[in-house]
């Protein structure tokens, strides 16, 4: 007697279904874990975050130029490490100078992609030191400012030692020194004025002018360009015109208060400004501000170190920005221990690089991003 013929197709289907059930049971019983509750007391977990409602622009690109985990290492940009980079300057040869504050060093990122130490010999991430002399043996303490003088010497704010230094021909010399009870105390961001005078912003927000012979004075007024280059503490201005949540910048402008603005150097009328308080990157001109890169909600900054378009990118602690030729900007990400490179959109480069009138730039901004919502 012959048995019933079983369709091979049915056998295959049943086998697949059974295997699926077994696999699901294995996964559900032995592998799957219900999502744990959010961290309490700080035990092993991510930083709490929230979905962004305001993001930067999709025609801006942010990428990591150098740095990763905190540390100290020279070499190629992909292997170099920084610890708390907090100021930038552009050398005449196109190199990027970085104040690597917690490593107590001034670092150089060459056009060839090599990171080297320019000044500093203190123990990395240690308490810092204080000495002068050859650049490779000079000890700094939490430098927080770097600038290039008209004679191509390099000026350094040696913040922890309350002094301004000059690097020239491989030697570090003293420009001005302060301390308790003296006019110079905790100098931070540093800039060189139109006629070569030195300006510094101190940690308490005050500005000092330093003459070539080391005399430190509290100026009665500070030119707006210098004030911008040094950054502004406090809550300087009100609302900002920004891009839309989808990043294309054509929807309703959104306003939020601007916090402490970090030092910025811009070309033309548009400046690139890191908002230290809110962890975003802005473009500013006399007509308003525009969110270039970063993510936030109305009340919450979204921190991160994501690269990508301005709509996706995030910053951990942007504190200084610098505009370079070729449509590039650089940002010192203090908490991210990275130097970020920002590719600016051509319209912004054109508007910023050429000495155009303010009205043209403003029209350009209004046409692309809606009404100017300044002053709220």
């Amino acid at each position: 007697m012959m048995g019933r013929q079983v369709s091979p197709r049915a056998v295959a289907v049943v086998t697949i279904v059974l295997l699926g059930i077994i696999q699901f049971a294995y996964w559900r019983l032995l592998v799957y874990r219900e999502p744990g509750p959010p961290p309490r007391g700080g035990g092993g977990g991510p930083i709490p975050t929230a979905p962004p409602t305001v993001v930067g622009r999709t025609d801006v690109t942010v990428e990591t130029l150098a740095g990763s985990e905190p540390g100290f290492q020279d070499g190629a940009t992909w292997q170099a490490r920084f610890c708390g980079p907090n100021a930038l300057a552009l050398a005449p040869d196109g190199a990027l100078l970085v104040s690597d504050s917690r490593n107590h060093r001034i670092r150089r990122i060459g056009p060839d992609g090599q990171v080297t130490t320019l000044v500093g010999a203190s123990e990395p991430d240690g308490p810092g030191g204080s000495s002068l002399g050859p650049a490779e043996s000079t000890q700094l303490c939490y430098p927080s400012g770097v600038a290039v003088a008209p004679d191509n010497s390099i000026l350094i704010s040696d913040t922890g030692n309350h002094r301004i230094l000059r690097l020239q021909s491989g030697q570090v010399t003293l420009v001005a020194e302060g301390g308790a009870g003296k006019p110079l105390r905790s100098p931070g961001p540093i800039a060189v004025g139109p006629v070569g005078e030195i300006w510094v912003r101190q940690a308490d927000g005050s500005v000092r002018q330093v003459s070539s012979n080391g005399l430190v004075v509290a100026p009665s007024s500070v030119p707006p360009s210098v004030r911008a280059a040094l950054g502004e503490a406090g809550e300087p201005i009100g609302a900002v015109m920004t891009a839309s949540p989808d990043g294309n910048g054509v929807a309703e402008p959104t306003s939020f208060r601007i916090g402490t603005r970090g030092p910025a150097v811009g070309s033309g009328e548009i400046r690139i400004v890191p908002d230290v308080t809110h962890h975003v990157l802005l473009a500013e001109n006399t007509g308003g501000s525009l969110l270039l890169a970063g993510r936030r909600t109305e009340k919450v900054s979204i921190l991160g170190m994501d690269d990508g378009t301005g709509a996706r990118a995030s910053f951990a602690g942007p504190c200084a920005a610098l505009v370079a030729p070729g449509g590039l900007a650089y940002v010192a990400d203090y908490e991210g221990h990275r130097i970020r490179r920002v590719r600016l959109p051509q319209w912004l480069v054109d508007g910023g690089a050429a000495p155009v009138t303010g009205s043209r730039v403003n029209r350009n901004m209004r046409r692309r991003f809606g009404r100017n919502d300044r002053g709220g």
Binding site: R33, E34, P35, G36, P37, P38, P39, R40, G41, G42, G43, G44, G45, P46, I47, P48, T49, A50, P70, G84, N86, S101, R102, E123, D125, G126, P127, G128, C141, Y142, S144, T159, G160, S186, G188, A203, D204, G205, A233, E235, G259, T260, G262, V276, T277, H278, H279, K299, V300, S301, I302, L303, A316, G317, C319, A320, A332, Y334, E335, G336
Partner: protein, 261 residues
């Protein structure tokens, strides 16, 4: 809070915090120190007290100017009442002008002392994106960073070594998994456990090392699969050095069963 031999010591948090002593036999609280700047992480070792303060020199904080922004101070108070600064370290304190940012996790103080041994204090610093662990000599001197890890991480001292959590290397970055790292071996830090669900805490009962997350795990000394002991309703654990206490498992702390080997 910290337990001394004859008293309980309490930190009052805040910009103007205080250090209080309450006799074990009962009685009024005695103010040992006041006007402390964001004190946290109180530890009592013998007759000495240790805690951290987060100070902002000059009142204005630029968080990216480390020498004058928020500074973590690790403090020590001897039995004779003399307090001194053991070490300083660049810290982070969200400015009052800032929006309540993602970095502001109210459950996590800017700095706290996680553990002590004969010579060192182990301090955890919470930064906007990362956690730093530093070692501070109890006799004073330069602090040294042990590790900096992304996210909110936890650490514990166990059998002469410091262990801490870090994002998993094997899982994808957004998977929410962590690993446990041990220091102190000759060839540098070493991962001893992987694939643990984030959100837990490390604890030691002097005998074993445990990770209290969605489950209570016993962590091996060398890289191996952690042993799952029991399901937890809340990933909280503490240890008095002898017993492992599970918090949130009921109205009272519960001694973990089976935690001893």
């Amino acid at each position: 809070m910290a337990l001394g031999s004859d008293a309980v010591f309490i930190i009052q948090h805040g910009a103007k915090g205080a250090l209080l002593r309450i006799p074990a036999t009962g009685g009024a609280a005695e103010v040992l120190a006041e006007g402390l700047s964001h004190p946290a992480g109180l530890k009592a070792v013998g007759s000495d007290l240790y805690w951290t303060e987060t100070v902002v020199p000059g009142g204005t904080s630029l968080p990216f100017v480390p020498s004058s922004g928020a500074m973590i101070r690790v403090m020590a108070r001897a039995q004779n009442g003399a307090a001194r600064v053991l070490a300083e370290w660049p810290g982070y304190l969200p400015s009052a002008a800032a929006s309540p940012s993602a970095s502001t996790n109210q459950d996590v103080p800017p700095a706290e002392i996680l553990a002590t041994d004969e010579t060192s204090l182990y301090v955890r610093l919470s930064r906007p994106m990362a956690t730093e662990f530093i070692r501070v000599p109890r006799a004073g001197g330069a602090a040294k960073r042990i590790a900096a890890e992304l996210g909110r991480q936890h650490g514990v001292h166990h059998k002469g070594r410091f262990y801490w959590t870090a994002p998993s290397l094997e899982a994808t970055p957004n998977s929410g998994m962590v690993r446990v790292i041990s220091e102190g071996r000759s060839d540098g830090p070493e991962t001893v456990a992987e694939w643990l669900v984030q959100g837990g805490r490390l604890a030691s009962n002097g005998d074993g090392l445990f990770y209290a997350g969605d489950y209570l795990f016993r962590i091996p000394n060398r890289l191996a699969f952690p042993r799952r002991l029991q399901r937890l309703t809340e990933p909280r654990a503490a240890s008095d050095g002898k017993r492992l206490l599970l918090l949130g498992e009921g109205p009272e702390p519960k001694v973990a069963s089976g935690a001893r080997s």
